[in-house]
Symmetry: C2
Subunit: 192 residues, 2 copies
């Protein structure tokens, strides 16, 4: 496959999804994020909410699955992982695009010409952002950010066997808190 794909991994609240949308707009190519979940839902028969919960957004799903006894066969999460691989690979075959999250960097590692980006920011920036942008009303947004970080890292590690957030896994890592979300999008789109 010769399509050039930009994958964006990101910390919760860092604005990585917005960076992805802006990059795609600048380049005139599609950006897949929530769309991925719909497609996985269609193929798997699970509800969209279940898919969100089952993977990186898990409150119980994935972590319970990680320690499940697989001698009874694959868990629902393993099944979703295989659908996710299929959906992402098919999208990447359709043409150049931006894919946010969902371990796309790992899934496409030998299948496409990738530009792999990671967007992060300190916890304070992200905690403020989830309150301001998403209107999250929880009392302890910093705690929520930490929890999400842990779950995403665990999910990534379990299915890819790589450490999340280690610079060496990416072509470019940007701190959206210090550089700004718009500037991150500008840098990535210029690299394409």
């Amino acid at each position: 496959m010769k399509n050039r794909i930009i994958t964006i991994s990101r910390e919760f609240g860092s604005g990585g999804r917005t960076v992805g949308k802006l990059v795609a707009e600048k380049l005139g190519i599609p950006c897949y994020d929530a769309e991925l979940i719909s497609k996985i839902a269609q193929e798997s028969g699970f509800s969209e909410n279940y898919i969100k919960d089952a993977s990186e957004y898990a409150s119980g799903g994935f972590l319970a699955s990680a320690f499940a006894n697989r001698s009874f066969g694959p868990t629902n999460e393993d099944y979703l992982w295989s659908i996710q691989q299929k959906v992402i690979t098919e999208l990447a075959e359709e043409g150049p695009c931006v894919i946010v999250g969902r371990c796309a960097d790992y899934i496409l590692r030998d299948k496409a010409d990738l530009l792999k980006a990671f967007i992060h920011a300190d916890q304070k920036f992200r905690a403020e952002r989830i309150v301001n942008v998403y209107g999250e009303t929880e009392e302890a947004p910093e705690q929520r950010v930490r929890e999400k970080d842990k779950r995403r890292a665990a999910y990534y590690r379990f299915y890819t066997d790589m450490r999340w957030g280690v610079a060496q896994n990416y072509d470019i890592c940007l701190n959206s808190g210090t550089l700004g979300i718009e500037r991150c999008a500008e840098i990535i789109s210029k690299l394409y």
Copy 2:
């Protein structure tokens, strides 16, 4: 201190030092790298070679020091670390500059307006580069690169208590192997 300082941490062989020189040229500000070692030598009374060996380039010095019994007082390496902190802080006070290596990002963390960059590349790229650029003639350059990585990471961890190469420690991390050394310098200088 209001001076804006660019710190460049880098994997051995990644071309991070060249990136630093290019960034400094583009911005018309000084770049400190080998100069740092001379200054530390002058202040400490140790030879330049001893300083190189004692810290991140250690063949025995630093790692032996890390496990030394400090109830007999600080080791030579601890003494060098304090001189290094002093030299780097003084340089940063003189004016805007680029500083390559020597944990400058950590030393200046609360003392200057920093742009913290990390340059890395895969082992194959770096092994080839040390042979081509530095004319290294060792039989196993990849082994050499791995050894240096381990020593730099251990040194950084020991004196800063932070993990080396973790994206969250930097404003920007760039893969010089996939993006090219010249492009890395361009991106960083535009961020300044």
